[in-house]
């Protein structure tokens, strides 16, 4: 018997067709990937499968139960991990787990066997608030919460977005053990290495299933989306022998905890500098000090020639910044956002108008000038946010995980923009969890437990640690971390 049967399901929101005649089946105990770009209809599909949303037409059966008539039966049998929110940040680890157990009318003790393998890894922190956990640990907790009532089907909607490669690997290893227990898993992910760990995948685009097959079949068939040709590195700008960022012995301590623990490095003008590290390694804290949001505890630093301690307001005039939390105003249109940020940096109206047209023309986005940002797909928002952050031609642009949650083709387009900016002489300081993006950088540093463990060009690092690619280099170094598990 199939664990999931979806027949001719359609769903529209007003005039937008989110799902259009979707059919697929998932066998019992299978690991099934539901992949596709942002806005393809994946989340709508999950919500229909979990009986949270009613399809306009078509039938859905989960574990032999009809999604419309027998929804209480289904809800008892499925575990759902939604993309963004599934934990209460103000509750402790244990309280979160107890809460979800109670929801399903069971107790943590009763469900303990089914979560032991996963929960065991975080049980030491059971009195810590969920909000204070690192990304990888939050994910393990969320998975434990979804598993506490021993579901037979598990739905995971992009569970690993914004999570570092090492934690992601551990996460998928855990999913492997669940498969051995006969649990059916439907998961979506923007990461190719994770797509390859599914047994079969369905590629969903604009509400339609474009293909179902083994990961390799799908990835080759839609290679233009999943496997775009790499970018020629020479496109980048010329690196000048002039330091734009200089940091010496920088420390940021919160009480006795050293989030950033004595780091020193320099970035040269025109360089694309990749600032890598696992979740909680201290990347964002370091970036906040460089952008003048936080004062360092000790150490010195200069950005575009200004001291980060005393001249932070000067620095702010000469840098661009794009945060991982989305940084444009969603309730303003594209043009209004550009005008706002142009105005903030003291550009006059004429210049703003001229550069706006020029920029939108270059992005082939002129038609959407008066579209509200909220209604744009994620990939476009990110490209736009980046273009706005370099609109005033800053000396350095800081990008904090700019490409979270989008497909490889969109990420590639994003990197073309980065190269273009670097070509114009803008120094790029970027953090990312995608190791293929790390290869695009001129130079990278890898942070582990608040310290910089390695620094150099991608090739140098691969050679030094004798690893085939950046993914392995990162995993090799990040596994030495002691902090994320203390």
């Amino acid at each position: 018997m199939n664990a999931i049967e979806v027949n001719n399901v359609s769903k529209s929101y007003g005039t937008v067709k989110a799902l259009d005649d979707v059919s697929f089946t998932v066998g019992k105990g299978e690991v099934f990937g539901l992949i596709g770009p942002d806005g393809a209809g994946k989340t709508s599909m999950y919500r229909i499968l979990c009986t949270l949303l009613l399809a306009d037409s078509g039938t859905v059966a989960v574990d032999g139960f009809d999604a419309v008539r027998q929804m209480t039966d289904i809800r008892r049998r499925v575990g759902y991990m939604p993309g963004k929110f599934s934990l209460y940040e103000d509750l402790t680890v244990e309280e979160n787990l107890q809460f979800f157990a109670t929801l399903f009318g069971t107790t943590v003790e009763e469900g303990y066997d089914s979560i032991k393998a996963i929960y065991g890894q975080i049980e030491r922190f059971k009195n810590r608030r969920a909000g204070a956990l690192s990304g990888g640990m939050k994910q393990k907790l969320a998975l434990s919460c979804a598993l506490v009532h021993s579901p037979s089907v598990l739905f995971l909607d992009e569970p690993t977005t914004g999570v570092d490669p090492v934690s992601r690997k551990e996460f998928w290893d855990m999913l492997g053990t669940l498969k051995d227990r006969g649990i059916t898993i439907v998961a979506s992910t923007p990461y190719l290495d994770e797509v390859r760990r599914c047994e079969r995948v369905a590629f969903l685009n604009q509400g339609k299933i474009r293909g179902i097959g083994t990961p390799d079949e799908i990835l080759t068939r839609f290679a233009d989306i999943f496997n775009p040709p790499g970018i020629d590195h020479a496109q980048g700008g010329e690196v000048k022998n002039e330091n734009v960022i200089e940091v010496e012995h920088l420390v940021k301590a919160f009480g006795s905890f050293h989030a950033v623990d004595d780091i020193s490095f320099t970035v040269k003008r025109g360089e694309i500098f990749g600032f890598l590290g696992a979740n909680g390694a201290g990347k964002t804290t370091a970036m906040h000090m460089l952008t003048g949001l936080n004062q360092p505890t000790s150490g010195t630093g200069r950005v575009v020639g200004y001291d980060i301690r005393t001249e932070h307001e000067q620095i702010k005039k000469h840098i661009g910044y794009m945060s991982q939390r989305f940084s444009l105003y969603e309730d303003l249109t594209v043009a209004e956002n550009i005008r706002l940020f142009g105005g903030i940096y003291g550009m006059d109206d004429k210049e703003i108008a001229r550069k706006t047209d020029e920029m939108l023309e270059r992005l082939q986005f002129a038609d959407h000038k008066d579209t509200l940002v909220a209604s744009l797909p994620l990939g476009w928002k990110q490209k736009l946010a980046f273009s706005v952050s370099i609109f005033h031609e800053p000396g350095v642009v800081f990008l904090d995980e700019p490409t979270g949650g989008v497909d490889p083709a969109t990420r590639r387009q994003f990197w073309e923009l980065i190269y273009e900016a670097a070509g114009r002489g803008i120094t790029v300081f970027v953090t990312t969890h995608y190791m293929d993006e790390a290869e695009y950088c001129d130079r990278i540093s890898i942070m582990v437990d608040g310290k910089i463990k390695a620094m150099g060009t991608p090739d140098e690092l691969k050679q030094k640690y004798n690893q085939p690619d950046m993914d392995h280099v990162f995993t090799y170094l990040a596994r030495q971390a002691t902090r994320s598990s203390d």
Binding site: G292, L293, Q295, H312, Y321, R325, L332, I344
Partner: protein
Amino acid sequence: MLRHLIRKEFLQIRRNPFLPKLILMFPIMIMCISPWVMNMEVKNVVVNVVDNDRSTRSQQIVHSIEASDYFIFGGQKPSYRAALAEIEHGKADMVLVIPHDFGKDIDRGEMPQVLIAANAVNGTKGGIGSAYLSQIVTSHVMPTKAAFQSKVSTLLLYNKHQNYKLYMIPALLAMVVMLMTGFLPTLNIVSEKEIGTIEQINVTPVSKWAFILSKLIPYWLIAFFVITVFLILAWLIYGIIPDGPIWLVYVLAMLLAMFFSSFGLIVSNYSDTMQQAVFVTWFFVMIIMLLSGLFTPTRSMPSWAYATTYVNPMSYFIEAVRTVFIRGGGLSSIWHQVLALLGIGSVMAVWAVVSYKKNS
């Protein structure tokens, strides 16, 4: 730079599906409904009468009750117990028991005892109601005493008709200013914190002042608009116009706006979530309102509570705006309230700017 930020705020307010409606409906709703309901006059007190006498005299008393604006005649009851039962069921507020031979006793020049029992759960209603009722009874029993009382002349100053609406409208003005300039900017800033856009603003060269002013100026303008609507409605619906100079009403309202918006900014600087901000603001606003003399006279508070009115901007505002509205006072009669409001407002404004940190 400030121009761009203010334009952004107005665009966001306009796009908000709810705010423009609130801004328009709020003064209208408050003005049309509140003056009628926020009323401390005692009226429509239901009186049951137990008439054991059934004489002409007692009938006259009953007729006076029926004729009064303040009372509703609840009916004749056979016994005190039956009348009391109605009070217990909440159907009546007071009982008047007229004894046997009431009429005869009066004619003989004796002093018959009349019982008035009042439900004093609502103290004001019970107290004032029984005072009115005993006045009616007295005027029948001892016309001479009543005549003597009418010789004592009471001169009501300023609010000659004791119009409660005239007293409440300035207080409602304070509430509108508080909501528009205290709550709205606070929630706006905290929601930028929650969404994360404030981080983006903090890494730009926008100065503290520009950011704060860009949050306040739109709401000040809105408050200005709302006050104008408010005053026009007061004139249209109730025919009430300030006796004193109208510009003073605006000056006072803007000073109060300065206090509340600074207060809101301070709260938003220390809160990370909407829940926290709303709760903290509400907590202080309740205290400020209750201790301000908005609804109750401050002089009748215990002395320690009265002492707090010296630092309560709301009580200065209420006092000053009532002076202007009702007594027609000019700047000369309220200058010390104006100075106090300016002083408290400035302290809060400085605190608000200092506590906003672009770099921590």
